[in-house]
Symmetry: C2
Subunit: 327 residues, 2 copies
């Protein structure tokens, strides 16, 4: 089961008027700093502050009336949680979200604010989030909404790439490279599907945080590799220990390179986004910018570099420490 | 001497390719909170992090070759300073900037970073900034570039309004109200000139910080009023004690209402911009949002509310204190 451009285009139709069509913006200061033109896709400006609303809405709007009555269950550190919670609220569907007990409180509060019921779990002990979700699904007959390993979710996230290509074209630009973060690969596989279909010469580059380079290792090995979970990382949103069963084959076919960034590179990028771009970006959302600022992504081909800033849900205290240079 | 739509359109031609055409963005969460549609113009994403680059470039690019050689001098708490400094750098013009000794260090560093020479003054004692600037101008034969009371400056700032009307039209929207902050009135007079010419039914609303409601008082009295300088305010960018000689008559003809906001309302708006909009906004830049969140601006006529977030140059320490709720 793979996804196609037609799936992404259908998703774009379904989310129209619900998701924000985020702009494609350019910073002359960033261009000058990098010596290359960068077209920024700030999904920080998306509903719930991250691209995740796109996939969640695309999945939930396709549930049958009977499925909608029984509700949905999802597990997530916070952005998928909020995406599912808001989509469920808009569609009148009950939602239970299984969240790690160390999820950023801004994400917990956001999820609760959209009316979802929250169940906490511990990342390292007790039942896994998959087990808890399966139990809830069994009890209630609820549909499990995966964070990435679902063709409708990945197709929804792919609308980011569809918009990037079309917005670049409307400006008279082409994209030599598109950079986006990888957790389970829903965003990158979705983007790659759309971008490669519309602009085959564009190189797709993923970025993972240090300690979670499962996709890089998997691509090198040609099969899905699981990394040891629990490595410390500021990137709460990117801690999937393996690429998805559906997303990995897409990435294997389309991804030109994967960069890995450290926490120090990520906080440097968050400070740059604050002080120069004037954008609030969470750690995981800043990984692409971090890779660029650290010189870890070469420019491929002709044309501008498309950069996805995937989310901006960061606790005020963490953000304050980062911009003060304490982290 | 007044300004016309043709002046603003000419300014738009001059700054094309130099200034950023900032997008018009919409936040469903803000719309829901206010019960009205708001189209946000984030001039935080402009070069130098504030709209001021528009007017400065429009003024400097019109200097004669001989004037360019002698250089320019400007006084500003920081955003006009950076706008003039960058425009001067791009055009190869020497620039001296007279800044208050309590200007935010992010603005001082920015101005210095663009290669301008800085002279400090004290807001309350010693020579005024006007006197110091006049001396430098006399010594060097430099051209003084006013922050607001200049038709080319105001016309340049007016391109914000021109873009807002056109971008709203391109989305199929009309603007019932446009809200922007007032210091000396260059931005608001420029915006009003463009907006009223293209969309006469749109109401123009200004916002001033408490203690600096000189424009409100002037409009009520029908003549320019000077307020006592030195009132404490977080809005370093909006501390002009009087409206401009050129900008005031424009505002008198066009402005429907002026709201006044407190520091507490401003910090609340900055927190909202951080946590919901994911935008970094400085105190003065957040006054329009503050007025909306505080219910101080009624919706006029049909159509959406256009909101200018005019700048995002804020020291990390101040921003950290605001988002932590310490201010």
């Amino acid at each position: 089961m793979s996804i196609t451009l037609a799936d992404v285009e259908a998703a774009a139709e379904r989310i129209r008027g619900q998701a924000v069509e985020t702009p494609l913006i350019e910073s002359p200061a960033l261009n000058e700093r990098l010596g290359r033109r960068v077209l920024i896709k700030p999904e920080t400006l998306q509903r719930v502050g991250a691209f995740k609303f796109r996939g969640a809405y695309n999945r939930l709007v396709q549930l049958t009336p009977e499925e909608r009555t029984r509700g949905v269950v999802a597990f997530s550190s916070g952005n998928h949680a909020q995406g599912v919670a808001l989509a469920a609220k808009l569609l009148g569907i009950p939602a239970v979200i299984v969240m790690p007990d160390d999820a950023p409180s801004v994400k917990v509060e956001g999820t609760r604010g959209y009316g979802a019921e929250i169940r906490f779990y511990n990342r390292l002990t007790g039942k896994t989030r998959e087990e808890i979700s399966a139990e809830i699904a069994a009890e209630r007959g609820a549909v499990v909404v995966p964070a990435f390993d679902d063709p409708h979710i990945a197709a929804g996230q792919g609308t980011v790439g569809l918009e990037m290509v079309r917005q670049a074209q409307a400006r008279g630009d082409t994209l030599g490279t598109v950079i986006a973060p990888i957790s389970g690969g829903g965003l990158l596989a979705g983007i790659a599907t759309a971008v490669k279909a519309l602009s085959p010469q564009t190189a797709i580059v993923g970025v993972e945080p240090a300690g979670y380079d499962d996709t890089l290792q998997s691509l090198q090995k040609g099969e899905r590799v699981t990394v040891k979970p629990g490595a410390p990382s500021l990137c709460d949103a990117l801690q999937s220990p393996f690429p998805g069963e559906i997303t990995f084959p897409v990435m294997l076919k389309t991804v030109a390179d994967v960069a890995t960034v450290t926490d120090a590179e990520v906080t440097e990028a968050m400070r740059y986004a604050f002080s120069v771009l004037k954008l609030v970006v969470e750690p995981g959302g800043a990984t692409g910018l971090a890779a660029l600022l650290a010189g870890k992504v070469q420019p491929y081909g002709e044309g501008a570099t498309g950069l996805v800033l995937s989310g901006g849900n960061v606790d005020p205290d963490l953000f304050a420490r980062v911009i003060r240079g304490e982290l």
